[in-house]
């Protein structure tokens, strides 16, 4: 029979919309509105998983996000498979396939269940005491075994096929939780037009009202009140309703993160829609109306499939029209289970209720139930259960006021609803750093002093009566005090830790943390071994560390600790609540930041041209730069050789646009640069350029670049590609905070100006026909000069500079014109064999001339003198950024690492960059290292390999032979001057 456990009527499911899913390969029929858990129960499925450690058969414990047991893999198609989904929150959708986890070979027959038999030797923390011999076995034998046994589901193997997005939002009031308290809060808060967001993690708003069939509010059935409230809220333009949205993190300054499930509940994913959306809300006021979690009872074998929370039994019956069993025993220490029992009876089920409390303590509940024909056994404890893959009976026994347990008796049943009282969901409050307060009357921690603009309301604050919840919510939403009339809720419970038993408590398995298989005796053991802090107990036993983060177990665990230590509960305290409230997919948090949107890919104006001309690119920071331009059949080495040759012999063209550029303007511009750079700037003439080096205050090289004086009060500063942003930030910092009196303004023009470097003996010939208004003759436009004019009719700042050692120009043009200018140069240069070159050739060319690259020859520990630029320091300057640090004792040592050239004895051996240098390769390890190779290339121009290196006392070692590491050993190399080509630097003047 299909859906044998479906009740014939009732529920909020849509019987007109049947659907079908699969569980472990079997067809499961369900209706729209079902959760997977409801669908499984409707089909008589009880056993849905195996526990973490002992592989105990497990069923469904709860109906909501606190579920620790029923974790399933869900398969929604390729790239859409994931583990550890709580069956109680996954909505049934047509075509999804779900399966159980953590067993082999099958759910029914799981060999891992031997662990249950071995459990006497596997108590909390057993692994700290063993697996130590022989030493090597830990990693080779024990650990792999432990790892394979642990873990729950199987991680996906395919890339996620779904999309995720983010949304930032602001509101006056964010209400979390749409039960009676939250609805009332939202109504009150939105009354005057203020922006209100109401979020609830369930598909429908209403919280407990969704399954409370009998209560009335202000004279109307609670369901009607709920519908009315929702209609009112939906009609208000200032209200945003977010169903299926879990608030999972409460961060500083009322920043709340929520995840909205947009796609999974739909049968077919519409590709335009994201699967999930991360909301980041900044709220002026937050109302937490997150309800309370029911506590399981701790007794032997309280984990059998079919044993559930009492309120969950009620939810399955009333909301999903599912009978979790035909003969149900409710076991309780409090009042709320009586309502569940009454509803179960009303649904036609066979019901018995066992209450640990004496009859006198039970209030009107027993009479009410007996009047309905329900057997009520007050003053009874639960000492066990029967059954294995499904509960078949609950073993109860009378218990007197002194805890003396009488004879056992088994109540045959196929379902149990247990209730050990309630725990307010204070997770978000606590995350917000609010201080919790222990309320003895309800044996629970409740919100105390808030740390942010926050109010808790309703059951989240330990208020369990419906009318009181409504009034509390209304007030939290800022409403003027008002009363709600509602059916009184049966409330109150007696806190019990582990139920009294006649068995040897030291030996039974009474579960506290279901998922992690932590029992009451594990907690006792931890305390016995000195783990007295509740945080230690958590870590030693792993209680509260499972995917439910202790929602059902924390109170029991800390209660047990308090009991054993005989300390009041507040002295034991709780463990720390941390985000997320329920597990959140990485995808949600990542949002759109995937693939091309992971990090911006910055490309220069000539990127497309380079791509079309076969460039291979390299990543430099966020930039993608042309690395080299291989021709068909060429490898990188050949391409770079050809590119270098073209520059040395004729002309090469290079996209240098990524250079940072800063326009420094104002009367004090020169003075400002004078303080920022190590060298002198006051006397630089307009129209001239100078190479500058800047330090951080600690004296180490920070950046370098050519600076041009465009006018007395205007400089064009260039920085390294990677340094652009931080150099500007560094300059702004000094300008604003140290020297606010200087009249200087800084503007980034890195992307205003594209830079085309035209380098080589024929550079002028290529350039000349395209330029107007600039006399290119060497005499009037010498090396290290700058001119303005036009090129191809567009304005240019034309620099005569060279990072290659050849006659060269850097042609700055407004970025959108770069492509046209480049193409014009390209056309002009054809007759000279103009060759595009990439960053690699650029590196070789500059190394041949011994020019440093900040970040390659330097690493944040290198001073100007170390790289041979000590001479640049303007001695006359009293101060510049970093100057004082250069006078520290360690900066003056003769054995500092200094930049030198290195020539391997084997001329064609290209040493490895990063290779270490020693004087004696035969010394014992650890060896004394003298330095390392910073740059190393094959140089056609030199006809041999060349390298730059930082070597201790290097300048005093000229001509010495040192030994450089290679992948296989050492290679001898001679220390030389760090200039390999055109040592006098004459070619730039050509």
């Amino acid at each position: 029979m299909a859906q044998p456990c479906r009740l014939p009527a009732g529920g909020r499911i849509d019987r007109a919309k049947p659907l079908r899913l699969r569980f472990n390969g079997r067809d499961i029929e369900a209706y729209a509105g079902d959760s997977v858990a409801a669908a499984l129960l409707a089909n008589g499925v009880r056993l849905v998983g195996r526990s973490f450690k002992y592989h105990r058969p497990r069923g469904i414990l709860s109906h909501g996000s606190d579920e620790p047991n029923a974790l399933l893999q869900v398969d929604r198609g390729p790239g859409r498979i994931d583990p550890n989904n709580r069956a109680t929150v996954v909505e049934a959708a047509d075509g999804i396939a779900v399966s159980s986890q953590n067993h082999w070979p099958s759910l029914e027959h799981d060999l891992g269940a031997v662990n249950d038999l071995l459990s006497p030797v596997l108590p909390a923390g057993f692994y700290y005491k063993t697996f130590m011999w022989p030493q090597s076995f830990w990693q080779r034998v024990y650990e792999p075994k432990i790892r394979a046994a642990a873990g729950l589901g199987v991680a996906p193997h395919e890339a996620d096929a779904d999309r995720y997005v983010h949304r930032h939002a602001h509101c006056a009031v964010l209400v979390v939780g749409g039960g009676p308290a939250g609805l009332a809060a939202a109504l009150a808060a939105s009354d005057d037009g203020a922006r209100v967001i109401l979020a609830d993690e369930q598909p429908e708003f209403g919280g407990t009202l969704l399954h409370d069939l009998h209560a009335t509010i202000d004279g109307a059935p609670a369901g009607d009140w709920r519908a009315q409230a929702l209609a009112t809220l939906a009609a208000r333009a200032n209200v945003t309703l977010l169903p299926r949205t879990t608030a999972f993190g409460y961060y500083n300054h009322n920043h709340i993160a929520l995840v909205e499930r947009v796609g999974d509940h739909r049968a077919r994913q519409d590709d335009r829609r994201p699967r999930e959306r991360l909301w980041q809300v900044r709220a002026r006021q937050v109302v937490l109306a997150t309800g309370a979690h029911e506590r399981p009872l701790v007794f032997a074998d309280n984990d059998r499939p079919g044993i559930m929370l009492a309120e969950s039994v009620r939810v399955f019956i009333n909301r999903y029209a599912v009978a979790p069993g035909r003969r149900i025993v409710f076991a309780t220490s409090g009042a709320s289970a009586y309502a569940a029992a009454a509803d179960a009876k009303a649904a036609g089920l066979d019901v018995t209720l066992v209450d640990i409390r004496a009859e006198a303590e039970c209030g009107p509940g027993p009479a009410m139930l007996r009047a309905r024909g329900i057997d009520v056994l007050p003053a009874h404890t639960i000492v066990g259960s029967t059954g294995r893959k499904a509960v078949t009976g609950l073993i109860v026994a009378p218990v007197d006021a002194n805890g003396i347990v009488g004879p056992r008796r088994t109540l045959a049943c196929d379902g149990v609803g247990m209730s050990g009282g309630w725990t307010p969901a204070v997770h978000l409050f606590s995350q917000s750093r609010g201080k919790l307060r222990y309320d003895d009357a309800i044996d629970a921690f409740v919100p105390g002093t808030p740390a942010q603009a926050e109010r808790s309301a309703g059951a989240a604050r330990g208020i369990y009566d419906l009318a009181a919840c409504l009034a509390d919510g209304w007030a939290a939403g800022g409403g003027a005090a008002r009363d709600f009339a509602a059916t009184p809720s049966p409330t109150g419970f007696r806190p019990v830790r582990a139920l009294p038993t006649d068995a040897d408590a030291k030996r039974v398995k009474a579960f506290v943390d279901f998922q992690n298989d932590v029992t009451a005796k594990d907690i006792a053991l931890a305390v016995r071994e000195g783990f007295e802090s509740v945080e230690h107990v958590k870590r030693y036993t792993t209680t509260g560390m499972a995917t439910d983060q202790g929602k059902t177990s924390n109170m029991a665990a800390l209660g047990l600790v308090a009991e054993i230590l005989d300390r009041p509960v507040p002295q034991v305290g709780t463990t720390t609540f941390r985000p997320p409230y329920t597990p959140v997919t990485f995808g949600t948090i990542v949002g759109s930041a995937r693939g091309a949107l992971f990090d911006p890919i910055r490309v220069a104006p000539l990127h497309d041209w380079a791509a079309a001309h076969g460039a291979r690119f390299e990543n430099v920071g966020l930039w993608r730069r042309a690395w080299h331009f291989p021709r068909p059949g060429e490898d990188m080495h050949a391409a770079v050789r050809r590119e270098c040759r073209a520059v040395r012999e004729s002309v090469g063209i290079f996209d240098a646009s990524t250079l940072g550029k800063i326009e420094v303007v104002g009367r004090d511009a020169a003075e400002f640069l004078h303080r920022i750079y190590i060298n002198a700037w006051l006397k630089l003439e307009p129209g001239r350029c100078r190479y500058g080096v800047m330090l951080k205050e600690d004296g180490f090289i920070f950046d370098d670049g050519v600076v041009a004086r465009m006018a007395p009060d205007r400089f064009h500063v260039t920085t390294t590609t990677g340094g652009a942003a931080r150099v500007l930030a560094h300059m702004e910092d000094y300008l604003q905070t140290e020297w606010p009196d200087l009249e200087v303004f800084l503007t980034s023009v890195s992307e205003q100006w594209a830079v085309i470097a035209l380098q080589g003996p024929r550079a002028r010939d290529v350039l000349a026909p395209l330029v107007e208004g600039i006399d290119l003759a060497a005499a009037s436009f010498p090396h290290m000069a700058v001119r303005t004019g036009t090129i191809c009719g567009v304005p240019t700042r034309l620099f005569r500079v060279s990072f290659t050692g050849e006659l060269g120009y850097e042609i700055n043009v407004p970025a959108d014109y770069a492509r046209a200018v480049w193409e014009a140069l390209w056309a002009r240069g054809q007759e000279f064999g103009i060759t595009p070159y990439g960053t690699e050739a650029m590196h070789v060319l500059r190394a041949e001339r011994g020019f440093i690259i900040v970040g390659q020859e330097t690493d944040g520990t290198v001073t100007p003198d170390d790289v041979g630029l000590g001479g640049m320091i303007a001695r006359a300057k009293a101060d510049f950024v970093g100057k004082r640090s250069l006078a520290r004792p360690d900066m003056l040592k003769p054995d500092r690492k200094q930049l030198v050239g290195l020539l391997a004895d084997a001329p064609d051996l290209v040493l490895e960059e990063g290779a270490q240098i020693v004087a004696d390769p035969h010394q014992p390890i650890p060896m004394t290292m003298l330095g390392h190779v910073t740059s190393s290339y094959w140089s056609d121009a030199c006809g041999r390999a060349i390298a730059l290196a930082l070597v201790s006392g290097g300048r005093a070692r000229m001509g010495q032979t040192l030994h450089v590491t290679t992948p296989t050993g050492f290679a001898p190399a001679r220390v030389a001057a760090p200039v390999f080509f055109d040592p006098k630097g004459e070619r730039v003047h050509g």
Binding site: R167, S592, V603, L622, D816, Y817, A824
Partner: protein, 191 residues
């Protein structure tokens, strides 16, 4: 001899905005843009320069004649905006108006790219990456500020009553900014 002025190759091809669509994300045509820096006190004293109002509150913009606009991004910083063809005129006029003062006028016409985001879901799409409150109360017409969109810095403007937002970013970030907006906007496209 240069035969003719080189043509412009913007990084994003401009397209027409469709404010009536549920969402419209359209790169805009090139424009004239300047970063103007001027001490706060001077701005207060002169009120406006070359037709650009300068003494508005920080993070506010003001339209000027001929499709021009000044947005105050900080105490001493304005973004001046106008049609592409007005570039030289703006430079000339502002230089003239501020002559003798301490100021910086820097052409950033090619540094920035603009994207217009319009339509009923414009705010939702921008808030897909921008953390600011774009509600009318918090970001009324005339607002202009530097902020972030995902991992890119942007200037976000809402020049006037029209429900059209303008996002300015640096050139090399434009493909990312457009890509992020389109990705977030997919949900609403064609809706």
């Amino acid at each position: 001899m240069a035969e003719q002025a080189a043509r412009r190759t913007p990084i994003l091809a401009p397209s027409a905005a469709r404010p009536e669509a549920a969402i419209s994300i359209a790169p805009m045509v090139p424009a004239a843009r300047f970063a103007l820096r001027l001490p706060e006190a001077a701005a207060k004293a002169i009120g406006s320069a070359a037709g650009f109002r300068l003494d508005m509150a920080i993070n506010r913009s003001a339209a000027a004649r001929d499709g021009r606009l000044a947005a105050r991004l900080g105490p001493d910083e304005w973004l001046l905006h106008g049609p592409e063809t007005a570039s030289e005129a703006i430079a000339r006029d502002v230089e003239a108006a501020l002559a003798g003062r301490h100021f910086a006028l820097v052409d950033i016409g090619h540094r920035n790219v603009a994207i217009a985001v319009a339509g009923a879901h414009a705010r939702a799409v921008i808030n897909g990456g921008c953390p600011l409150d774009l509600d009318d109360d918090a970001f009324p017409p005339g607002s202009a500020t530097r902020t972030l969109l995902g991992k890119a810095e942007i200037v976000l403007l809402r020049p006037d009553e029209a429900p059209v937002f303008r996002i300015e970013c640096w050139r090399s970030f434009a493909p990312y900014v457009l890509g992020l907006l389109e990705e977030v906007g997919r949900e609403f496209a064609g809706a």
